[in-house]
């Protein structure tokens, strides 16, 4: 049964940046169609983990990686062309990076690079993605404006729309709410819950409450090691397997 296997399987993953360890023997599964939150203090390896899933880690010259990451049962290292892997995984960065082109071109960039030329298909993609990211009503008359002219919160939703443009099976968000106001954050969280119906979502967040609101399961990383991963009912209770989880979630870490 393929569909029962985890969507992402991380096994014994270790990453060093110029000898400095960032991830240490991490083993973690992400189930199909779940929202997994990854929490942990700074330098615990959360972003590094995301970078290993879509092989962006390779663009960092000082990084050396060992261990395996499987997406949909296939070792990501076996993709001869990493862009084929990256097209299956939507990725959203902490600070929105609007590409220096129009809103329309921003959203259609990935499909166009993947070879889609049909204007009607691209038009539909723009409408679908901007609606999914709760941005359509605000920008439907500004599709030919530069993406970089939108406000910060709109740009962040634009990057989400862009990440959705290839109908990815997996969506990873790295602290998406850092540059976004609380109202927009709640809007995006609603969107993520809807998308989750046919998408596996990994959310890296510094906001413990966001993990609690949004995720089915939560993983706590600490200095590159997995402390605990479990259902939110457990992680956000007194019955955590590891005492540090309880302390971190309660803000008692010190």
């Amino acid at each position: 049964m393929v569909s029962a296997s985890p969507m992402i399987e991380v096994e014994n993953l270790s990453v060093n940046y110029a000898g400095k360890p960032a991830l240490d023997q991490l083993t973690l599964d992400v189930r199909r169609n779940e929202i997994l939150a990854v929490i942990g203090p700074a330098n615990s390896g959360k972003t590094t983990l995301l970078n290993c899933i879509n092989r962006m880690i390779e663009t960092i010259p000082s990084a050396s990686v060992s261990g395996t990451v499987k997406v949909d049962g296939h070792n990501v290292a076996e993709y001869r062309d990493p862009s084929l892997l990256r097209r299956r995984i939507g990725m959203v960065f902490p600070l929105p990076v609007g590409l220096p082109m129009t809103v329309y071109e921003n959203v259609t960039f990935a499909p166009r690079m993947a070879g889609e030329k049909d204007r009607t298909v691209l038009d539909e993609t723009v409408q679908r993605c901007l609606k999914q990211s709760a941005l359509w009503d605000e920008v439907k008359d500004r599709l030919d404006d530069l993406g970089t002219r939108l406000s910060g919160g709109q740009q962040q939703r634009l990057t989400i729309a862009r990440a959705l443009s290839l109908n990815p099976e997996i969506l990873c968000l790295d602290e998406f709410s850092i540059a976004v106001d609380p109202v927009t954050t709640m809007k995006i969280e609603e969107v993520l819950k809807e998308l989750n119906e046919n998408m596996t979502i990994v959310v890296v967040t510094n906001l413990v409450l966001q993990a609690k609101r949004l995720a089915h399961r939560t993983a706590l990383l600490l200095r590159g090691k997995l402390v605990e991963v479990g259902d939110n009912e457990v992680i956000f209770s007194r019955q955590t397997a590891d005492a540090r989880t309880f302390q971190y979630v309660q803000g008692l870490f010190g």
């Binding site: 879509n54 962006m56 663009t59 010259p61 062309d81 990493p82 862009s83 084929l84 990256r86 097209r87 990725m91 960065f93 600070l95 990076v97 609007g98 590409l99 220096p100 082109m101 960039f109 990935a110 690079m113 993947a114 530069l146 970089t148 990057t159 862009r162 990440a163 443009s165 290839l166």
Partner: protein, 293 residues
Amino acid sequence: MNASPFATSARTATNRRVESVGKTVLAGVTALLILPLTAILGLLVIRGAPALSMEFLLEAPTAGMTAGGVFPAIVGTLWLVGVSLAVSAPVGIMAGIYLNEYAKANWLTRMVNLAIVNLAGVPSIVHALFGVGVFVLFLGLGTSILSASLTLAIMTLPVIIASTKEALAAVPMAFREACWTLGATRWQTIRHVVLPNSISGILTGVILQVSRAAGETAPIMFTGAAFYLPFLPQSVQDQCMALSMHLFTVSTQVPNVPEAIPYATALVLLSVVLLVNMFAIAFRTYLRRNRKW
């Protein structure tokens, strides 16, 4: 009653004085810079004006260079600049793209970069000797427009590579990362995002080399430029006259040249460079429209 928080203190007064002095000094230095430039240009115009005419632009030199015009030299300079940039611009830009976008940060890349910086500082007479040795003699191209242009291309290459790299490095890394994450290949990223946003900087580097290629005398003197030719070049295998070379000839090599001719020649050289640059700048402006981030 408390002092107003906006009242002038001794500190703010000092700051204001420093500000105004600093501004005056910087403006003064800028004015000093402009002065010799306008003086040179004024001198050229005043001294050269008597010789300037349509005939001067459209006729060949006559009477042993002491009369007639500079037309063959204008044509020769355009040949040399055109052919040399046709070689050095694409090669330099491609090398710059490779070095900035693809090359790994290892010792070999560092050596290559170091070599490029040093090459940019090599005196043009050394390039001239290299050109004679390699293009004229070894490759058997003879003294020709091709040899002279290739020598000029070698001379302008390092600067074009360096300015291309700089223009590419000015494009934020985050743009590239965003593209890669979206499944764009390295080349797609360069083609659709990096180049459109650095092309004006790259072209600025090329434009600056137009004046250098047109102005240098040493590299073309032994490789393809002639003192005097009774005909216009028909192909890159011919020799040609050149404005820079002609200026050198009429000011130092030929006796009894009317004073106005060298000045007028220099003025024409400047105008040709300016004209070529204006085309390049217009092209750059055309490419740059709507590009902002």
